[in-house]
Amino acid sequence: MERLKPLIALLNLDLLLFIAVSAVKAGFFLGAIMGFTAFLTWVERKLSSLMQDRIGPNRAAIFGFTLLGLFHPIADGIKLMMKEDFVPARADKVLFTLAPIITLVPVLAAFAVIPFGNYVDIMGYRVDLVIAKLPLGLLYVLAVSGFAIYGTFLAGWASKSNFALLGALRGAAQMISYEVVLGLTLVGLLMIYGTADLQQIVRAQGRLLFGFIPAWGIVYQFPAFLLFLTAAMAENKRTPFDVVEGESEIIGYFMEYSSMRFAVFMFAEFIEIILVAMLAATLFLGGWQIPYLSEAGFLFPGGRSIAVYPYAVALAQMAAFALKTAFMCWVLMTLRWTVPRFRFDQVMKLAWQGVLPLSLLNILVTGLALVLAGKL
């Protein structure tokens, strides 16, 4: 008991409160993301069907109610759970099991630094609406998403299947190439905002340019926005860049997977869509910022102002962030169903001869502009 005293002294009220608040924030944010992911599997099917003049899923029903096919994610989940959990005889069983986990965990971990709101004062206690306040948040996201390559490659390697290995090799080449590019496309933003803390970047985007244009990243760095979307979609391994999967040629690195192990890969892919959408919203579309809305209320360029209750402001900003994320998800999905698959040489050429030089040029131009504007 005597020995534990310093430990008990450490567990003071502040620390306990911090742990509790962090747990609540993580539970809330990750719960929302998981729910949205399940919803997104339905959105993908419905959206693709609508843009191809079809009706889409509408059969799964509970007591005769179909709700536009909203029960299909549940039906899919039940189906995947009932399937046989198959491991090929010659597969490396440990790595085979580990691969889906390694794919899923980094994608989920990256959400820790994404700010989904400013902050709220609850009885004098300031709660920042981001799970982890990390000064190097952007670098953390890039580092953690670099882990995803291990999942892809281990899955292909451990299943001891030629097609899976082929997919994994393609995946390794593609993801490493675009990892480089992804980081470089964001350097321009780092130079302008002068910080890698995502919360600080979002706060900086609340300023106004010339007094009326919101200083969002997309205004400063429109080319970087396109380059970032390209690189992020390639990281995500979805259709324009899905030579890794290529349903019509090789099934891809998860070819030997079945049941919930396969579902984890699928789930990680959909969560990554949300991650890319949230990053795009945070870095380029002003995050939780609503134009002209500050903590006190609306402050329009003409000088007129409307006071808004602080909690309402926080809620509206969280809703704005959700809306921007949903919009970016819609853009990503529509692009996925619009653009046909690139050939593998085209994918690599685009990375090394297209996006990489252009992002270097973007850094150069941004630097020159900052020097000329006297901000550097």
């Binding site: 959206l47 609508l50 843009m51 003049d53 529509t334 619009t338 653009v339």
Partner: protein
């Protein structure tokens, strides 16, 4: 000799080679379809098949589920001549003939089975029938079933007259018509 058609594709201009603008144009096309279909779902031409069916037109009406016609007195028009079973390319018709006790002229089918799991819906049996007894004009399209037996139609399932029948006109069954007329007089 096979003629080779040479397609002269226009070389892509700079804007098309950069591709971003072309992607944006494609994006507009797909999102236009998305929003039009989202707000006007009635424009989608998909039919909810098992519940809703398209009205059949012209010859398609004559390629639907079989039926065996009946005379006014309720006896089958079929005289068990085996011509339909002979004409059937899928061998899906099975007939066993029997004789009426009071009618020395014609037979009747004691068994008349149609195996829909083999039937190719070609309509040859209808063409072959000299008595106009079998028809494929019910406008029912045999769909999926849960049990094999449901695809095996026996004689009593096939007997069916459409509204306005029985008609004793037409066909080559003069003998049968004369017989029933005489039976009516007595």
């Amino acid at each position: 000799m096979i003629e080779i058609k040479k397609v002269n594709n226009r070389p892509l201009n700079l804007l098309e080679r950069i591709y971003v603008w072309e992607i944006f144009k494609g994006f507009l096309v797909t999102s236009r379809h998305f929003f039009v279909n989202l707000f006007f779902p009635g424009r989608i031409i998909t039919i909810q098949y098992p519940e809703v069916t398209r009205p059949l037109e012209y010859a398609a009406k004559g390629r639907t589920l079989h039926r065996l016609k009946l005379r006014a007195d309720g006896s089958p028009k079929c005289v068990a001549c085996f011509l339909c079973a002979t004409a059937c390319p899928a061998y899906c018709i099975h007939i066993e003939a029997a004789e009426y006790t009071d009618n020395p002229v014609e037979k009747y089918p004691a068994v008349f089975d149609v195996d829909l799991s083999r039937c190719v819906m070609c309509g040859m049996c209808v063409e072959a029938c000299p008595e106009d007894a079998i028809a494929m004009d019910t406008e029912i399209i045999p769909g999926g079933v849960l049990k094999r037996e449901q695809l095996y139609l026996t004689r009593d399932k096939l007997f069916k007259n459409l509204p306005g029948e029985p008609s004793l006109k037409g066909a080559a069954n003069r003998l049968a018509n004369e017989y029933s007329r005489e039976a009516g007089r007595q």
